[in-house]
Symmetry: C2
Subunit: 342 residues, 2 copies
Amino acid sequence: MSATAIAFPNIALIKYWGKRDEALIIPQTSSLSLTLAVYPTTTTVSLLSESAPHEVLQDGAPMPQAAAAKVARFLDHVAELAGTTRAARVETSNAGPTGAGLASSASGFAALAAAASAAYGLDLSPRDLSRLARRGSGSASRSIFGGFAVWNAGSDDLTSYAEPVDDARIDAAMVLGIVNAGAKPISSRDAMRRTVETSPYNAPWVATNPTELAFMRDALRRGDFTAVGEISERNALRMHAAMLGAVPPVRYLTAGSMALLDAVAELRNTGLEAYATMDAGPNVKTLCRSAEAASVRDALAAAAPGIEFVIAEAGPGVSVSDHGVSVSGQGPTAIAGPGAPR
Amino acid sequence: MSATAIAFPNIALIKYWGKRDEALIIPQTSSLSLTLAVYPTTTTVSLLSESAPHEVLQDGAPMPQAAAAKVARFLDHVAELAGTTRAARVETSNAGPTGAGLASSASGFAALAAAASAAYGLDLSPRDLSRLARRGSGSASRSIFGGFAVWNAGSDDLTSYAEPVDDARIDAAMVLGIVNAGAKPISSRDAMRRTVETSPYNAPWVATNPTELAFMRDALRRGDFTAVGEISERNALRMHAAMLGAVPPVRYLTAGSMALLDAVAELRNTGLEAYATMDAGPNVKTLCRSAEAASVRDALAAAAPGIEFVIAEAGPGVSVSDHGVSVSGQGPTAIAGPGAPR
């Protein structure tokens, strides 16, 4: 009847950009991410005693209309899976900034999927939880799992889900450079659609994905941090390049982003291995070895004085407390999660 | 025996990026540019009395080795066309910065082609002068002509040449934003090669060129400044996007470039039509109506206080003075040049 879930954002190293099916959120391509140990979303879902409108609160206040409507549609779907029309009350809170390209929708819908499915009495496998989260926000499918996760594009609702990457052999962390924590000028949903519909670079973006993903999985397996970093940075730049090709062009990277890209390249010149990745916003996330994260943060902070930097180690999958009983939704992910045997 | 030529840089609105033939400089795509009335190169070529090494001076001092060797190879080619092995002395000077993405190689090789061909006694048509200049630097083929010029990619040395766009009906100028006048980190020649060889976005960059060029020519013919601007800005961003797709990525745009892109977009929001274009360097050239160039410069200078802005009106084709007789090499370009009937 009531459940609380905590989920963490994830940052893709092989990006998700562009949908094949807008309604079911089936992506054009597979993607691969690292779940982070910062900026969790905490969400409680409580069933209401009778059929009524859903109630959606964020930080104690009604969520803005468009976002609340999306949550309500998601709850309708969960209720339907549970064979009921009962409404629910959602109370959610993000520890990090919302809608700023820091994956708040990934942690948000992962937490909502876990809390809602538990509250409605569904007993979903991690895979089915991933499929459910995907319908709220594609990248949320990956935040079900800790550490590295791969979202298999699939071709329909059944075959499009994330799963842990259980043979990764690198200890990676990210240093988040908060260039701008404000909401982005165009939603990633709209920007993706424009890219798919108008950019001549969308087709090669899609066509090169299987090879890039295979290179990345192989690099993770071999524990080749340099290769992981190089593939990540070029994949991020290619995603932004595909957007730049759209009509009109989509440009998320700002002066602050470019200054950080320069700073990250300069770190490499000085022997500190760091690689940049950027999502639908100006913020630059710097991938580095976990043991070097503090050095990387200090060096970046020195190079870009006005910018806030946050170290994010690899984080866990979603967890749920249901009627006082703690249930881990992360399934087999402990294998690739932080502190797991390697 | 001795001739002096003056040529001006040009900025492409439909970009040249990538060669089909490295030796002959046959491009993958056709391109279209506006010759500017600033930053001329003045070059004097004098035949030496006997067979000897060529002498190449820039601003009175020996030109750096690699650049001088390129000029010497060019002179060898001209001498061969003239049926002689006589060497020449070259004295050249750029009024603008060299190798900074401000088209110094375009003005440079256009001036050299005109001065050398005159000094060696060749009487070339504007088209053949364009073909000759092309062999020094691709974009130089367009600086033979004033105003708007199109370089037809062609498929070999005979068919790859520029010619004036004689039906353009817009009065355009550019405001050059000198983000950085230093030499670029990677030469455009090397960056082009890397793009062609490694970027998955090169194929669609090439495939979309004929349509984009046709849109541009139609917009020029109709005098549709808005369309000319929008096509220009998206073409520039797509060229940079194709480079970002390379391995390793090629990134010429800096924090300063992005700040200017934002400023140009903001100008449009305030009703002043301006569009950005960027070449192999961080500098941002803003296309605007000639009558609004001063307003655009003032607005950009207010938005980006640290940056120098230079207004560049449409400029003339190459001109040559040969033994005291002034010879215009611009041929039919007066039709599209500044002050010409429209």
